[in-house]
């Protein structure tokens, strides 16, 4: 592969006009640039989804709030949920998959670079289509201008009779497009990880990060198509008068719920596995210990992948399935706690007796552990149907899934940002700002979502645009204050991210003294990644290199 070795002459960024540089990004098929573009896309939508969340919180500040009206409120929570799942967390997943995985397995790019670029632009286009509904969705009816059907779009809310105008159609098209983007990402990941690993890196010698992304990609391949099929049925219902989800003519509104949640529940794990992947890298490096129980981690990951495909109806206890089904899905859901518990145990055991370095990536990883544990425990409560019947449509459930999606997944991704930023841009993010941001985000997050559990137990339903009970006021006010604290934290993060591009400390190739291959090339890596494809013999190739007297492969 000598022909790729000649480095392209680095052009002085001041002499190349901005438009040429931007054009270079747009036409790029380099996995590192596409990864960074995925991350920038997630920032854009994080701001949009965050502002929607703040409006929701301002409306709920006190009884009989008048910040927005009921219709706008429906649109706000629909757009907030859809944006955060499909256009914030999914692109973050895409960014971390694209940037890190090929570097970590010693490859020069992903398997299909052009397909990769197409996947990114489809995802981004999907987001644009969804938000275009604000401009173009009035259609002939002058109806709602943004989708107002909830992020799970239950039938018959989506039927032509109840959802006039085209807002729902933009929702369908936007999410489907981003689904196609996710599938092309997954095809790429599977082909890259199976066939492009560095010599010597057997499937059992991969870093856990890579293994988790492999399982993740397979989950994407299996559960996005049913969602796309359901979306297509919905389009037929809306445009050709088909009857899939219309019970009056023999259709089944319940079918939508089954198809949606068959996608929707594994989707949570599709987002969570990359978070676990980040944590499984950060915790060993910052505890200066090898990960505890590699094989049980791998087995737990695969178990989570399997089980998560058989638990979807725990989102449907309240529709009144049969007792047998309820029991089955409750049991299966509680089973998930076992592999997840193994993972948490292993992370803690990795830290036990290690020399902990409490730098920003580790701080966020610890934040992840506490918050995800909390979210997991309320998840077990909700897995029991009698409790779920009471709490399912209350603010308690909103608190629960924000603990897993934000407290768990977003915190893990933040750890990932601080950890790989030096590799992406060659500079460190500010440690001081990072700690301040952590304080704001962590305290704000808990202030925002703990009261939701309490007020949910007191009986406050979710998705209501206002309330009259004054005893709920204080909890909602704490929530709202927490929301603004968290917003400050995330703004600090964005400021840190962009200002460190110029003012950050020069990082060097391996600022964290880490063990995986991506730290063996320059920061940022050249477009061909590695001058010479390294050969590996253990799960920590850089440890072997740094400690030739006591290499890992003697012990594995």
């Amino acid at each position: 592969m000598a022909s790729i070795d000649t480095p392209s002459t680095p052009k002085d960024s001041t002499t190349v006009p901005l438009i040429t540089r931007l054009h270079g990004w747009v036409i790029s098929v380099d996995h590192k640039r596409i990864g960074i573009m995925y991350l920038l896309m997630s920032f854009l939508f994080l701001i949009l989804g965050g502002v929607q969340g703040l409006f929701i919180r301002m409306q709920l500040w006190g009884p009989n709030g008048t910040v927005v009206d009921a219709d706008t409120y429906n649109q706000l929570f629909t757009m907030h949920g859809t944006t955060m799942i499909f256009f914030v967390l999914m692109p973050m997943l895409g960014g971390f998959a694209n940037f890190v995985v090929p570097l970590m397995i010693g490859a020069r790019d992903v398997a299909f670079p052009r397909l990769n670029a197409m996947g990114f632009w489809l995802s981004f286009f999907g987001g644009c289509v969804l938000y275009y509904s604000h401009l173009g969705a009035e259609g002939l009816y002058g109806a709602a201008s943004a989708p107002d059907i909830g992020w799970f779009a239950y039938a018959p809310l989506t039927s032509p009779a109840f959802s006039r105008g085209n807002a729902t159609d933009y929702w369908i098209l936007g999410t489907t497009l981003t689904g196609v983007g996710a599938i092309s990402l997954a095809v790429n990941m599977v082909a890259t990880i199976f066939t492009m690993r560095a010599p010597g890196m057997r499937l059992t010698k991969m870093p856990l990060y890579v293994l988790l992304f492999l399982v993740d990609a397979i989950l994407i391949l299996l559960v996005f198509p049913p969602f796309a099929a359901a979306q297509f049925m919905l389009l037929l219902d809306r445009f050709l008068g088909a009857h899939f989800f219309d019970p009056q003519v023999g259709g089944s509104a319940l079918l939508w719920q089954h198809l949606f949640w068959f996608f929707g529940h594994p989707e949570v794990y599709i987002l969570a596995l990359p978070a676990f992947a980040v944590i499984s890298e950060v915790i060993p490096v910052f505890s200066r210990k090898v990960i505890f129980g590699y094989l049980s981690m791998a087995a737990a990951t695969i178990a989570i992948g399997f089980i998560s495909c058989g638990v979807w109806a725990h989102h449907m206890f309240t529709v009144g399935l049969s007792d047998t089904l309820d029991t089955f899905f409750a049991g299966a859901t509680m089973l998930v706690a076992i592999p997840t518990g193994i993972k948490i145990f292993n992370w803690v055991a990795t830290m036990y007796g290690g020399r902990l370095r409490l730098q920003t990536p580790m701080l966020y990883a610890l934040g992840f552990l506490t918050l995800f544990l909390f979210g997991g425990l309320t998840g077990i409560m909700l897995a029991s149907p009698p409790f779920d019947w009471q709490a399912s449509d209350s603010a308690f459930l909103v608190g629960h899934f924000h603990y897993t999606l934000v407290g768990g997944i977003l915190f893990a991704f933040l750890a990932g940002f601080y950890y790989w930023y030096p590799k992406m841009f060659g500079r460190m993010m500010s440690e001081r700002l990072g700690i301040i941001q952590f304080a704001f985000t962590y305290i704000g997050f808990n202030a925002l979502f703990i009261p939701m559990h309490i007020v949910g137990m007191l009986g406050m339903p979710r998705r209501i645009y206002t309330y009259t009970d004054p005893s709920w006021t204080i909890w909602n006010q704490i929530s709202t204050i927490g929301a603004f604290m968290m917003a400050i934290g995330l703004l600090l993060f964005l400021y840190n991210f962009f200002s460190s591009l110029r003012h950050g400390k020069i990082a060097g190739d391996d600022p964290w003294d880490a063990w995986t291959l991506e730290w063996n090339t320059t920061s940022p890596p050249p477009c061909y990644n590695f001058k010479e494809i390294p050969t590996v013999r253990s799960r920590r190739p850089l440890w072997d290199l740094k400690h030739p007297d006591d290499p890992d492969w003697k012990h594995e």
Binding site: A111, F112, L115, I183, A186, V187, N188, A191, T192, F194, T195, M196, R197, P199, G200, R202, L203, A217, I218, L221, L222, V223, F224, P225, P226, A228, A229, A230, F232, M233, L236, D237, L240, G241, A242, H243, F244, Q248, V249, G250, G251, S252, L255, L259, D509, D510, N520, F530, K531, E532, I533, P534, T535, V536, R537, L542, D544, L545, K546, P548
Partner: protein, 207 residues
């Protein structure tokens, strides 16, 4: 630290021989997704099989048994299934380096696939004009057009892809090592296999 040191340090590390090439692996991953898609569509068809509208008088609405004609479908199926054979012959001719023979078999595959698409068009035309079956007629119409339509779309995509590869190969723009014909044949066998399931379900069991 240099990568060279790392590489020379462990020169004799065993590597895993990969069973499939990168492109083959990519296609297999894609076929997993396709399998999941068709499973969903087939399950949906089964769920609504025999579903009646509230208050429907028997015989009033088109059902699988009173509107599906086997004649044309059997001809279509024979064409599609034999195209799996012809593409197999085409590829073995290509492996032997018999370029002309390869183009003939591959071209025949494309024509057989095209027959299936046109035949399905005729079937639909009959259903719509003779039996007044539309997606909006009843759940049978909705699920039938969804399932058959998605499959037929896959056949059409295969026909278009194969035509492009055929034209490129006829102009000798592809090297003999190019994997495209092999890979499109995997896709084609998959589409044929799905048809066996759909045919059995829709025209035999469900009728």
């Amino acid at each position: 630290m240099s990568t060279a040191a790392l590489a020379s340090d462990a020169n004799h590390a065993p590597t895993e021989p990969s069973r499939f090439t990168t492109r083959e692996t990519g296609l297999l991953a894609f076929l997993c997704t396709e399998g999941s898609l068709f499973t969903t569509l087939i399950i949906t068809y089964i769920i609504f099989l025999g579903e009646k509208m509230p208050g429907e008088i028997p015989g009033e609405m088109p059902t699988p048994s009173n509107s599906l004609d086997l004649g044309l479908v059997i001809i279509n199926s024979i064409c599609l299934l034999s195209s799996s054979l012809t593409i197999y012959f085409a590829l073995s001719a290509r492996k032997r380096g018999a370029h002309g023979l390869y183009l003939v078999w591959f071209g025949l595959t494309i024509l057989l696939g095209l027959e299936f698409v046109v035949g399905t068009g005729y079937e639909w035309y009959d259903l719509m004009t003779k039996y007044h079956l539309f997606p909006s007629t009843n759940t049978f119409g909705s699920t039938f057009y969804l399932l058959i339509g998605f499959h037929c779309l896959h056949v059409l995509i295969g026909v278009v892809t194969m035509s492009i590869i055929w034209a490129f190969d006829a102009l000798r723009w592809l090297t003999p090592k190019c994997e495209a014909p092999e890979i499109v044949s995997w896709y084609w066998h998959f589409v044929d296999g799905v048809w066996v399931v759909i045919f059995t379900l829709v025209y035999i069991v469900g009728r």
